[in-house]
Protein backbone atom coordinates (compact mmCIF):
# COMPACT_ATOMS: atom_id res chain seq x y z
CA UNK A 1 0.00 0.00 0.00
CA UNK A 2 1.27 3.43 -0.89
CA UNK A 3 1.72 5.72 2.09
CA UNK A 4 1.36 9.47 2.47
CA UNK A 5 2.65 11.63 5.24
CA UNK A 6 -0.23 13.61 6.73
CA UNK A 7 1.05 16.75 8.46
CA UNK A 8 -1.47 16.14 11.27
CA UNK A 9 -1.57 12.34 11.59
CA UNK A 10 1.76 11.11 10.29
CA UNK A 11 2.29 8.30 7.78
CA UNK A 12 -1.05 6.79 6.66
CA UNK A 13 -2.34 4.56 3.86
CA UNK A 14 -3.08 6.44 0.61
CA UNK A 15 -6.63 5.03 0.68
CA UNK A 16 -7.38 7.33 3.65
CA UNK A 17 -6.76 10.41 1.51
CA UNK A 18 -8.90 12.22 -1.03
CA UNK A 19 -7.38 14.25 -3.84
CA UNK A 20 -8.64 17.84 -4.00
CA UNK A 21 -7.11 19.29 -7.17
CA UNK A 22 -4.39 21.77 -8.02
CA UNK A 23 -3.80 24.70 -5.68
CA UNK A 24 -4.89 27.77 -7.67
CA UNK A 25 -5.55 31.31 -6.69
CA UNK A 26 -9.28 31.98 -6.49
CA UNK A 27 -10.44 35.04 -8.40
CA UNK A 28 -12.84 37.30 -6.55
CA UNK A 29 -16.26 35.80 -7.43
CA UNK A 30 -17.91 39.20 -7.07
CA UNK A 31 -15.76 40.99 -9.59
CA UNK A 32 -14.31 38.35 -11.94
CA UNK A 33 -15.75 37.54 -15.37
CA UNK A 34 -17.55 34.26 -16.14
CA UNK A 35 -14.52 33.19 -18.18
CA UNK A 36 -12.16 33.77 -15.25
CA UNK A 37 -14.45 31.80 -12.96
CA UNK A 38 -14.74 28.92 -15.46
CA UNK A 39 -10.95 28.92 -15.76
CA UNK A 40 -10.65 28.61 -12.01
CA UNK A 41 -13.31 25.93 -11.62
CA UNK A 42 -12.79 23.69 -14.67
CA UNK A 43 -9.56 24.34 -16.53
CA UNK A 44 -6.21 23.10 -15.28
CA UNK A 45 -2.62 22.62 -16.39
CA UNK A 46 -2.77 18.84 -15.91
CA UNK A 47 0.99 18.78 -16.50
CA UNK A 48 3.61 16.08 -15.93
CA UNK A 49 5.66 17.82 -13.23
CA UNK A 50 5.75 18.46 -9.52
CA UNK A 51 2.25 19.78 -8.77
CA UNK A 52 1.05 21.53 -5.62
CA UNK A 53 -2.26 19.94 -4.71
CA UNK A 54 -4.97 19.94 -2.08
CA UNK A 55 -5.44 16.66 -0.24
CA UNK A 56 -7.90 15.66 2.48
CA UNK A 57 -7.23 13.15 5.21
CA UNK A 58 -10.81 11.87 5.21
CA UNK A 59 -10.98 10.20 8.66
CA UNK A 60 -9.88 13.37 10.43
CA UNK A 61 -11.39 15.86 7.97
CA UNK A 62 -8.07 17.66 7.65
CA UNK A 63 -7.12 19.51 4.46
CA UNK A 64 -3.47 20.03 3.65
CA UNK A 65 -1.14 20.63 0.73
CA UNK A 66 1.11 18.08 -0.96
CA UNK A 67 3.77 18.48 -3.61
CA UNK A 68 3.65 15.43 -5.82
CA UNK A 69 5.17 14.46 -9.15
CA UNK A 70 2.34 13.50 -11.51
CA UNK A 71 4.65 11.31 -13.59
CA UNK A 72 6.35 9.21 -10.93
CA UNK A 73 3.67 9.57 -8.18
CA UNK A 74 6.45 10.54 -5.79
CA UNK A 75 5.18 12.65 -2.88
CA UNK A 76 7.93 15.17 -2.19
CA UNK A 77 6.46 17.20 0.61
CA UNK A 78 3.26 17.66 2.59
CA UNK A 79 2.46 20.66 4.76
CA UNK A 80 -0.27 22.52 6.57
CA UNK A 81 -2.06 25.08 4.35
CA UNK A 82 -1.36 27.81 6.90
CA UNK A 83 2.01 28.13 5.17
CA UNK A 84 0.15 29.54 2.16
CA UNK A 85 -2.78 31.09 3.96
CA UNK A 86 -1.35 32.86 6.95
CA UNK A 87 -4.11 35.45 7.09
CA UNK A 88 -7.48 34.59 8.54
CA UNK A 89 -10.33 34.85 6.02
CA UNK A 90 -13.44 36.54 7.43
CA UNK A 91 -16.78 35.36 6.09
CA UNK A 92 -18.87 37.88 7.97
CA UNK A 93 -22.05 38.78 6.16
CA UNK A 94 -23.78 41.83 7.56
CA UNK A 95 -26.65 40.68 9.79
CA UNK A 96 -30.09 41.57 8.54
CA UNK A 97 -33.26 41.58 10.56
CA UNK A 98 -35.68 38.76 9.69
CA UNK A 99 -39.24 40.01 9.60
CA UNK A 100 -41.90 37.61 10.76
Amino acid sequence: MKMMNCPLNGLRNISEFVHGGEVKEMPDPNSCSDKEWADYVFFSDNAISVVTEWWLHAPSGYWFIAERHTGSDEILKTYDPSVLFSERVEFSAPATEVKA
Partner: protein, 415 residues
Protein backbone atom coordinates in the same frame (compact mmCIF):
# COMPACT_ATOMS: atom_id res chain seq x y z
CA UNK B 1 14.93 -18.86 -38.34
CA UNK B 2 17.91 -18.48 -35.93
CA UNK B 3 19.64 -16.26 -38.53
CA UNK B 4 16.67 -13.98 -38.94
CA UNK B 5 16.36 -13.80 -35.16
CA UNK B 6 20.05 -12.89 -34.89
CA UNK B 7 19.63 -10.25 -37.57
CA UNK B 8 16.59 -8.90 -35.76
CA UNK B 9 18.52 -8.79 -32.48
CA UNK B 10 21.50 -6.97 -33.99
CA UNK B 11 19.40 -4.45 -35.89
CA UNK B 12 20.37 -0.93 -34.94
CA UNK B 13 17.12 0.63 -36.12
CA UNK B 14 14.02 0.20 -34.08
CA UNK B 15 12.94 -3.17 -35.42
CA UNK B 16 9.19 -2.67 -35.57
CA UNK B 17 7.37 -5.02 -37.84
CA UNK B 18 5.67 -3.73 -40.93
CA UNK B 19 1.94 -4.33 -40.95
CA UNK B 20 1.10 -6.38 -44.02
CA UNK B 21 -1.89 -4.24 -44.96
CA UNK B 22 -0.15 -0.90 -44.57
CA UNK B 23 2.17 0.76 -47.09
CA UNK B 24 5.85 1.11 -46.23
CA UNK B 25 6.79 4.22 -44.25
CA UNK B 26 7.84 7.21 -46.35
CA UNK B 27 9.58 10.49 -45.63
CA UNK B 28 7.41 13.28 -44.25
CA UNK B 29 6.21 15.70 -46.91
CA UNK B 30 6.78 19.41 -46.18
CA UNK B 31 3.06 20.16 -46.31
CA UNK B 32 -0.23 18.42 -45.61
CA UNK B 33 -3.76 19.80 -45.79
CA UNK B 34 -4.63 18.02 -42.56
CA UNK B 35 -2.33 16.79 -39.82
CA UNK B 36 -3.91 14.39 -37.34
CA UNK B 37 -1.94 14.03 -34.13
CA UNK B 38 -2.49 10.63 -32.57
CA UNK B 39 -2.70 7.31 -34.44
CA UNK B 40 -5.28 5.66 -32.25
CA UNK B 41 -8.77 4.61 -33.28
CA UNK B 42 -10.11 8.16 -33.30
CA UNK B 43 -7.26 9.61 -35.36
CA UNK B 44 -7.31 6.92 -38.05
CA UNK B 45 -11.12 6.93 -38.17
CA UNK B 46 -11.07 10.69 -38.80
CA UNK B 47 -8.54 10.20 -41.61
CA UNK B 48 -10.60 7.36 -43.07
CA UNK B 49 -13.83 9.36 -43.23
CA UNK B 50 -12.00 12.44 -44.55
CA UNK B 51 -10.70 10.34 -47.45
CA UNK B 52 -13.88 8.34 -47.99
CA UNK B 53 -16.62 10.97 -47.77
CA UNK B 54 -14.81 14.25 -48.40
CA UNK B 55 -12.08 13.30 -50.87
CA UNK B 56 -9.41 14.87 -48.65
CA UNK B 57 -6.36 12.62 -48.90
CA UNK B 58 -3.37 14.92 -48.38
CA UNK B 59 -3.53 13.89 -44.74
CA UNK B 60 -0.81 12.75 -42.34
CA UNK B 61 -1.48 10.86 -39.14
CA UNK B 62 1.45 11.44 -36.77
CA UNK B 63 1.77 8.82 -34.06
CA UNK B 64 4.58 8.98 -31.51
CA UNK B 65 4.51 5.25 -30.87
CA UNK B 66 2.73 2.70 -33.04
CA UNK B 67 -0.73 2.38 -34.59
CA UNK B 68 -3.44 1.82 -31.96
CA UNK B 69 -0.89 1.28 -29.21
CA UNK B 70 -2.39 3.63 -26.63
CA UNK B 71 -5.88 3.55 -25.20
CA UNK B 72 -7.18 1.86 -28.35
CA UNK B 73 -5.37 -1.26 -27.15
CA UNK B 74 -6.11 -0.72 -23.47
CA UNK B 75 -9.86 -0.25 -23.26
CA UNK B 76 -12.14 -3.16 -22.42
CA UNK B 77 -13.81 -3.07 -25.86
CA UNK B 78 -17.36 -2.39 -24.74
CA UNK B 79 -19.77 -0.89 -27.27
CA UNK B 80 -23.02 0.50 -25.87
CA UNK B 81 -25.30 3.49 -26.09
CA UNK B 82 -27.39 3.21 -22.91
CA UNK B 83 -26.34 6.58 -21.58
CA UNK B 84 -28.44 9.06 -19.66
CA UNK B 85 -28.45 12.40 -21.47
CA UNK B 86 -30.27 12.78 -24.78
CA UNK B 87 -27.14 14.37 -26.30
CA UNK B 88 -25.09 11.34 -25.23
CA UNK B 89 -27.59 8.69 -26.31
CA UNK B 90 -28.06 10.29 -29.76
CA UNK B 91 -24.31 10.39 -30.30
CA UNK B 92 -23.45 6.89 -29.07
CA UNK B 93 -26.38 5.22 -30.89
CA UNK B 94 -24.99 6.51 -34.18
CA UNK B 95 -21.73 4.86 -33.20
CA UNK B 96 -23.38 1.51 -32.52
CA UNK B 97 -25.03 1.65 -35.97
CA UNK B 98 -21.69 2.32 -37.68
CA UNK B 99 -19.90 -0.41 -35.69
CA UNK B 100 -22.36 -3.03 -36.95
CA UNK B 101 -21.33 -2.36 -40.56
CA UNK B 102 -17.60 -1.93 -40.07
CA UNK B 103 -16.44 -5.48 -40.86
CA UNK B 104 -18.23 -5.36 -44.23
CA UNK B 105 -17.05 -1.87 -44.95
CA UNK B 106 -13.39 -2.70 -44.22
CA UNK B 107 -13.51 -6.19 -45.70
CA UNK B 108 -11.67 -7.00 -42.50
CA UNK B 109 -13.14 -8.78 -39.50
CA UNK B 110 -13.35 -6.58 -36.40
CA UNK B 111 -15.08 -9.46 -34.58
CA UNK B 112 -18.13 -7.42 -33.70
CA UNK B 113 -20.22 -9.50 -31.37
CA UNK B 114 -23.56 -8.24 -30.15
CA UNK B 115 -24.29 -9.91 -26.83
CA UNK B 116 -26.23 -7.33 -24.87
CA UNK B 117 -25.13 -5.51 -21.79
CA UNK B 118 -26.73 -6.05 -18.40
CA UNK B 119 -26.34 -3.39 -15.71
CA UNK B 120 -27.47 -4.36 -12.22
CA UNK B 121 -29.47 -2.19 -9.83
CA UNK B 122 -29.06 -2.89 -6.11
CA UNK B 123 -30.98 0.12 -4.80
CA UNK B 124 -34.35 1.76 -5.47
CA UNK B 125 -32.56 4.89 -6.61
CA UNK B 126 -30.66 2.89 -9.22
CA UNK B 127 -33.91 1.29 -10.45
CA UNK B 128 -35.42 4.76 -10.95
CA UNK B 129 -32.29 5.92 -12.77
CA UNK B 130 -32.37 2.85 -15.02
CA UNK B 131 -36.03 3.42 -15.87
CA UNK B 132 -35.11 6.89 -17.11
CA UNK B 133 -32.13 5.56 -19.10
CA UNK B 134 -34.32 2.87 -20.69
CA UNK B 135 -36.91 5.45 -21.78
CA UNK B 136 -34.32 7.92 -23.12
CA UNK B 137 -32.76 5.05 -25.07
CA UNK B 138 -36.02 3.81 -26.56
CA UNK B 139 -36.87 7.35 -27.55
CA UNK B 140 -33.73 7.49 -29.70
CA UNK B 141 -34.31 4.09 -31.24
CA UNK B 142 -32.13 1.97 -28.96
CA UNK B 143 -33.13 -1.42 -27.62
CA UNK B 144 -33.00 -1.06 -23.85
CA UNK B 145 -35.42 -2.17 -21.18
CA UNK B 146 -35.77 -2.69 -17.47
CA UNK B 147 -35.91 -6.36 -16.51
CA UNK B 148 -36.73 -8.16 -13.25
CA UNK B 149 -34.61 -10.62 -11.22
CA UNK B 150 -36.27 -13.66 -12.84
CA UNK B 151 -35.27 -12.43 -16.32
CA UNK B 152 -31.76 -11.71 -15.05
CA UNK B 153 -31.49 -15.29 -13.74
CA UNK B 154 -32.46 -16.59 -17.16
CA UNK B 155 -29.92 -14.40 -18.94
CA UNK B 156 -27.03 -15.08 -16.56
CA UNK B 157 -27.74 -18.27 -14.57
CA UNK B 158 -24.28 -18.14 -12.95
CA UNK B 159 -24.80 -14.72 -11.36
CA UNK B 160 -25.04 -14.42 -7.56
CA UNK B 161 -28.30 -12.53 -7.03
CA UNK B 162 -27.24 -11.32 -3.58
CA UNK B 163 -23.67 -10.06 -4.04
CA UNK B 164 -22.09 -8.39 -0.99
CA UNK B 165 -25.50 -8.46 0.71
CA UNK B 166 -26.87 -6.10 -1.91
CA UNK B 167 -29.73 -8.02 -3.57
CA UNK B 168 -30.14 -7.47 -7.31
CA UNK B 169 -33.48 -5.64 -7.65
CA UNK B 170 -33.59 -5.08 -11.39
CA UNK B 171 -31.41 -4.84 -14.46
CA UNK B 172 -30.99 -2.46 -17.38
CA UNK B 173 -30.92 -4.82 -20.36
CA UNK B 174 -29.27 -3.11 -23.32
CA UNK B 175 -29.66 -5.42 -26.29
CA UNK B 176 -27.43 -3.27 -28.51
CA UNK B 177 -24.51 -3.84 -26.11
CA UNK B 178 -21.61 -5.44 -27.94
CA UNK B 179 -17.90 -6.00 -28.04
CA UNK B 180 -15.37 -5.96 -30.89
CA UNK B 181 -11.68 -6.48 -31.29
CA UNK B 182 -10.36 -3.00 -30.50
CA UNK B 183 -7.01 -3.38 -32.35
CA UNK B 184 -8.84 -4.57 -35.44
CA UNK B 185 -10.94 -1.40 -35.47
CA UNK B 186 -7.78 0.73 -35.62
CA UNK B 187 -6.20 -1.60 -38.20
CA UNK B 188 -9.31 -1.59 -40.37
CA UNK B 189 -9.54 2.18 -40.37
CA UNK B 190 -5.80 2.53 -41.01
CA UNK B 191 -5.98 0.09 -43.91
CA UNK B 192 -8.94 1.91 -45.45
CA UNK B 193 -7.36 5.32 -44.96
CA UNK B 194 -3.91 4.46 -46.32
CA UNK B 195 -5.44 2.71 -49.35
CA UNK B 196 -7.07 6.03 -50.16
CA UNK B 197 -3.78 7.92 -49.93
CA UNK B 198 -3.57 9.01 -46.29
CA UNK B 199 -0.07 8.74 -44.80
CA UNK B 200 0.39 7.06 -41.45
CA UNK B 201 3.68 8.02 -39.77
CA UNK B 202 4.47 5.91 -36.74
CA UNK B 203 7.32 6.74 -34.34
CA UNK B 204 6.75 10.39 -35.23
CA UNK B 205 6.30 12.55 -32.17
CA UNK B 206 4.96 16.09 -32.34
CA UNK B 207 7.33 18.16 -30.22
CA UNK B 208 5.72 21.53 -30.77
CA UNK B 209 2.77 23.19 -32.45
CA UNK B 210 3.46 26.26 -34.60
CA UNK B 211 0.83 28.93 -34.06
CA UNK B 212 1.03 32.24 -35.92
CA UNK B 213 -1.42 35.07 -35.20
CA UNK B 214 -3.84 32.76 -33.44
CA UNK B 215 -3.82 30.23 -36.28
CA UNK B 216 -2.05 26.90 -36.49
CA UNK B 217 0.33 26.72 -39.45
CA UNK B 218 2.37 23.60 -38.76
CA UNK B 219 3.90 21.19 -36.30
CA UNK B 220 7.46 20.34 -35.29
CA UNK B 221 8.24 16.66 -35.03
CA UNK B 222 11.25 14.51 -34.20
CA UNK B 223 11.52 13.94 -37.98
CA UNK B 224 11.41 17.59 -39.01
CA UNK B 225 8.87 20.34 -39.44
CA UNK B 226 5.63 20.03 -41.37
CA UNK B 227 3.36 22.85 -42.42
CA UNK B 228 -0.35 22.20 -42.59
CA UNK B 229 -3.75 23.69 -43.25
CA UNK B 230 -5.26 22.39 -40.05
CA UNK B 231 -4.60 20.09 -37.13
CA UNK B 232 -6.79 17.55 -35.36
CA UNK B 233 -5.55 16.49 -31.96
CA UNK B 234 -6.68 13.05 -30.82
CA UNK B 235 -4.24 12.09 -28.09
CA UNK B 236 -6.51 11.00 -25.19
CA UNK B 237 -4.63 11.09 -21.88
CA UNK B 238 -2.01 13.49 -23.24
CA UNK B 239 -4.56 16.07 -24.45
CA UNK B 240 -3.62 18.74 -21.90
CA UNK B 241 0.10 18.41 -22.69
CA UNK B 242 -0.42 18.86 -26.43
CA UNK B 243 -2.88 21.72 -25.86
CA UNK B 244 -0.23 23.44 -23.74
CA UNK B 245 2.09 23.31 -26.77
CA UNK B 246 -0.63 24.99 -28.82
CA UNK B 247 -0.99 27.56 -26.05
CA UNK B 248 -4.24 26.84 -24.23
CA UNK B 249 -5.58 24.96 -21.21
CA UNK B 250 -8.22 22.25 -21.23
CA UNK B 251 -10.85 21.21 -18.66
CA UNK B 252 -9.25 17.78 -18.44
CA UNK B 253 -7.56 15.76 -15.72
CA UNK B 254 -5.62 12.61 -16.56
CA UNK B 255 -6.36 9.54 -14.44
CA UNK B 256 -5.10 5.98 -14.89
CA UNK B 257 -7.79 3.38 -15.53
CA UNK B 258 -6.85 -0.19 -14.72
CA UNK B 259 -8.18 -3.43 -16.13
CA UNK B 260 -7.21 -7.08 -16.02
CA UNK B 261 -7.92 -10.41 -17.63
CA UNK B 262 -7.98 -14.02 -16.38
CA UNK B 263 -6.85 -17.29 -17.88
CA UNK B 264 -9.30 -18.60 -20.51
CA UNK B 265 -12.16 -20.87 -19.47
CA UNK B 266 -15.14 -22.49 -21.23
CA UNK B 267 -17.78 -20.01 -22.36
CA UNK B 268 -20.39 -19.38 -19.65
CA UNK B 269 -21.08 -15.65 -19.81
CA UNK B 270 -22.79 -14.23 -22.84
CA UNK B 271 -23.85 -10.69 -21.89
CA UNK B 272 -21.52 -8.02 -20.57
CA UNK B 273 -22.40 -7.67 -16.86
CA UNK B 274 -21.87 -4.48 -14.94
CA UNK B 275 -22.68 -3.40 -11.39
CA UNK B 276 -22.27 0.33 -10.67
CA UNK B 277 -22.78 -0.21 -6.91
CA UNK B 278 -20.00 -2.79 -6.83
CA UNK B 279 -17.77 -0.65 -9.11
CA UNK B 280 -17.16 -3.60 -11.36
CA UNK B 281 -17.88 -4.93 -14.82
CA UNK B 282 -17.16 -8.36 -16.22
CA UNK B 283 -17.27 -9.85 -19.68
CA UNK B 284 -15.99 -13.01 -21.32
CA UNK B 285 -14.02 -12.56 -24.50
CA UNK B 286 -14.27 -14.75 -27.57
CA UNK B 287 -11.12 -16.49 -26.37
CA UNK B 288 -12.76 -17.35 -23.04
CA UNK B 289 -10.82 -14.93 -20.86
CA UNK B 290 -12.72 -12.84 -18.35
CA UNK B 291 -12.06 -9.12 -18.56
CA UNK B 292 -12.56 -7.02 -15.43
CA UNK B 293 -12.80 -3.28 -15.28
CA UNK B 294 -13.93 -0.75 -12.73
CA UNK B 295 -13.64 2.90 -11.88
CA UNK B 296 -10.64 5.13 -12.57
CA UNK B 297 -7.84 5.49 -10.05
CA UNK B 298 -8.69 7.80 -7.14
CA UNK B 299 -6.22 10.55 -8.04
CA UNK B 300 -4.61 11.97 -11.20
CA UNK B 301 -1.40 10.48 -12.51
CA UNK B 302 0.48 10.02 -15.79
CA UNK B 303 1.54 6.45 -15.17
CA UNK B 304 0.21 3.16 -16.43
CA UNK B 305 1.35 1.20 -13.40
CA UNK B 306 -1.06 -1.28 -11.82
CA UNK B 307 -1.83 -1.21 -8.11
CA UNK B 308 -2.63 -3.93 -5.60
CA UNK B 309 -5.30 -1.69 -4.00
CA UNK B 310 -7.40 -1.59 -7.11
CA UNK B 311 -7.04 -5.31 -7.72
CA UNK B 312 -8.20 -6.07 -4.20
CA UNK B 313 -11.25 -3.84 -4.31
CA UNK B 314 -12.25 -4.70 -7.88
CA UNK B 315 -11.74 -8.45 -7.69
CA UNK B 316 -13.38 -8.79 -4.29
CA UNK B 317 -16.53 -7.43 -5.89
CA UNK B 318 -16.14 -9.48 -9.06
CA UNK B 319 -15.97 -12.61 -6.93
CA UNK B 320 -19.14 -11.49 -5.15
CA UNK B 321 -20.91 -11.42 -8.52
CA UNK B 322 -19.51 -14.79 -9.65
CA UNK B 323 -18.28 -16.63 -6.52
CA UNK B 324 -16.94 -19.64 -8.48
CA UNK B 325 -14.32 -17.37 -10.08
CA UNK B 326 -12.45 -17.12 -6.77
CA UNK B 327 -9.80 -19.66 -7.78
CA UNK B 328 -9.17 -18.33 -11.27
CA UNK B 329 -5.78 -16.87 -12.08
CA UNK B 330 -5.13 -13.46 -13.54
CA UNK B 331 -3.16 -13.54 -16.73
CA UNK B 332 -2.56 -9.87 -17.53
CA UNK B 333 -3.08 -6.47 -16.01
CA UNK B 334 -2.65 -3.04 -17.53
CA UNK B 335 -3.72 0.57 -17.32
CA UNK B 336 -4.53 3.36 -19.73
CA UNK B 337 -4.41 7.11 -19.26
CA UNK B 338 -7.93 8.51 -19.40
CA UNK B 339 -8.62 12.16 -20.13
CA UNK B 340 -11.48 12.84 -17.75
CA UNK B 341 -13.78 15.84 -17.98
CA UNK B 342 -15.77 16.99 -14.98
CA UNK B 343 -19.13 16.26 -16.67
CA UNK B 344 -18.12 12.84 -18.09
CA UNK B 345 -18.79 14.00 -21.65
CA UNK B 346 -16.24 14.35 -24.44
CA UNK B 347 -14.81 17.51 -25.97
CA UNK B 348 -15.11 17.75 -29.74
CA UNK B 349 -14.94 20.76 -31.99
CA UNK B 350 -13.17 24.09 -32.09
CA UNK B 351 -10.35 25.30 -29.88
CA UNK B 352 -9.06 28.79 -29.02
CA UNK B 353 -6.55 28.36 -31.89
CA UNK B 354 -7.94 28.72 -35.43
CA UNK B 355 -7.88 25.59 -37.63
CA UNK B 356 -6.93 23.50 -34.59
CA UNK B 357 -9.65 20.97 -33.84
CA UNK B 358 -10.14 19.03 -30.64
CA UNK B 359 -11.02 15.40 -30.12
CA UNK B 360 -10.45 14.89 -26.42
CA UNK B 361 -12.00 14.28 -23.02
CA UNK B 362 -12.73 10.66 -23.82
CA UNK B 363 -12.27 9.31 -20.30
CA UNK B 364 -13.85 5.86 -20.21
CA UNK B 365 -16.09 6.27 -23.28
CA UNK B 366 -13.59 6.60 -26.12
CA UNK B 367 -13.57 3.22 -27.86
CA UNK B 368 -17.33 2.94 -28.25
CA UNK B 369 -17.47 6.33 -29.95
CA UNK B 370 -14.65 5.68 -32.44
CA UNK B 371 -16.71 5.51 -35.68
CA UNK B 372 -19.10 8.37 -35.04
CA UNK B 373 -16.41 10.58 -33.57
CA UNK B 374 -14.20 10.02 -36.62
CA UNK B 375 -17.12 10.71 -38.94
CA UNK B 376 -18.11 13.90 -37.10
CA UNK B 377 -14.54 15.17 -36.86
CA UNK B 378 -14.07 14.54 -40.59
CA UNK B 379 -17.20 16.58 -41.30
CA UNK B 380 -15.90 19.37 -39.07
CA UNK B 381 -12.51 19.42 -40.79
CA UNK B 382 -13.91 19.16 -44.32
CA UNK B 383 -16.32 22.03 -43.76
CA UNK B 384 -13.47 24.22 -42.54
CA UNK B 385 -14.76 24.51 -38.98
CA UNK B 386 -18.55 24.25 -39.22
CA UNK B 387 -19.46 22.14 -36.18
CA UNK B 388 -21.90 19.31 -37.03
CA UNK B 389 -25.20 19.43 -35.09
CA UNK B 390 -24.55 16.05 -33.42
CA UNK B 391 -21.40 17.21 -31.62
CA UNK B 392 -22.41 20.83 -30.92
CA UNK B 393 -23.28 20.10 -27.27
CA UNK B 394 -19.74 18.78 -26.72
CA UNK B 395 -17.74 21.93 -27.52
CA UNK B 396 -15.02 22.95 -25.09
CA UNK B 397 -16.80 26.29 -24.77
CA UNK B 398 -19.60 24.62 -22.83
CA UNK B 399 -17.44 24.97 -19.72
CA UNK B 400 -17.13 28.73 -20.20
CA UNK B 401 -20.89 28.97 -20.65
CA UNK B 402 -21.57 26.61 -17.70
CA UNK B 403 -23.59 24.32 -20.00
CA UNK B 404 -22.09 20.95 -19.14
CA UNK B 405 -23.58 17.70 -20.43
CA UNK B 406 -23.92 15.78 -17.20
CA UNK B 407 -23.39 12.18 -18.31
CA UNK B 408 -24.00 10.05 -15.23
CA UNK B 409 -24.38 6.98 -17.45
CA UNK B 410 -20.60 6.96 -18.00
CA UNK B 411 -18.63 4.12 -16.46
CA UNK B 412 -16.37 6.45 -14.51
CA UNK B 413 -19.39 8.33 -13.14
CA UNK B 414 -21.47 5.36 -12.13
CA UNK B 415 -18.64 3.17 -10.87
Amino acid sequence: MPFSLLKYGLNKDYPFEQHADLPKPTELKPHYDVVIIGGGGHGVATAYYLAKYHGITNVAILEKSYLGGGNTARNTAVIRSNYLTSEGVKFYSESVKLFKELSNEFDFNIMYSQRGQLTLAHTDAAVRGFRQRAEVNKHFGGKTELIDPQQIRELVPTLNMNPADMPVLAGLWHMDGATARHDAVAWGYAKGATQRGVELHQLTEVTDVIVQQGKVTGVKTNRGNVSCGCVVQAVAGHSSLLAAKAGFKMPITTFPLQAMVTQPVKPFLDPLVSSPSLHCYVQQTGRGELVFGGGSDPYPLYSTRSTMDLKESLLANAVELFPFMANMRLMRQWAGLTDMTSDYSPIMGLSPVDNYYLDAGWGTWGFKSTPICGKSMAELVASGGKVPELIKPFSMDRFNAFRQVNEMGATAASH
